[in-house]
Amino acid sequence: METVENGDSSTQASVQGITVHDFSEKILEQLVHFHVMKLSGGFFLWIGSGPVLSNLAVSIGSKYDSTPLSTLVLGDTSDTTPSALAQRLTKKTKKQVFVSYNLPMTNSNLALLVEDRIKKEMELHPDKF
């Protein structure tokens, strides 16, 4: 048995092992943390400034529609930010995406910049998603 502390565990020998990737960025004077768990055929992405998990959305591509299917499985359903973000990330990656968005939902400008930061990380480290 081998345990790996978090950080970049991609070096662990495994064919399709789960890998974890963390990064942070100061966006609009706020330090935003990102935590990505790469899974087989998808990934889990947590976004927040503190270690809270207040919602979880999931999205998958649809055979019948170019728009991916998305739903909130945990949290307040009146907040559409997590499921909308998951949907757009599925559209971009064609993968199953789990998103937990733990920043103020009222700031749509922040959400936009956060999304840009995720896309930038995807370009920098495509193997982590």
């Binding site: 790996v4 495994s14 789960i18 990064f23 943390h33 400034s49 270690p51 199953q96």
Partner: protein
Amino acid sequence: MAPQPVIRSRQMEKAINGIPTQVVCTEFSNYIFIVLTQYGKIGTLVSITPDTRSGDISVPMFTTKVLLGKDEPLTHVYAKNVTTFVSQESGNRPVLLGLSLKDNSAATMKTVKDMIKGCQVW
């Protein structure tokens, strides 16, 4: 340069009866998130919540709910079996469990529990 990650996670991989099995535990302030898989996926997502009640009975009760995936009785039994100790040890935090196993035998469950213990983040 890069700040320390705000959330902690630990993972482990082990072959059980020849099947590669992975456990990833992630700590949040209000949840412990555990991925338990032989497919590399989250699979069925279950929440395990301790019931908040001020009783004099020391045995806590847990509510399990399938948030995503097939809602089978065995899923609830399995989820309770492998995660109640996590909730108890982490100050009665609810647990979010991603469960996707090829082998649901009792013997495997015991090994899997040991793996979760080995990935303690709480």
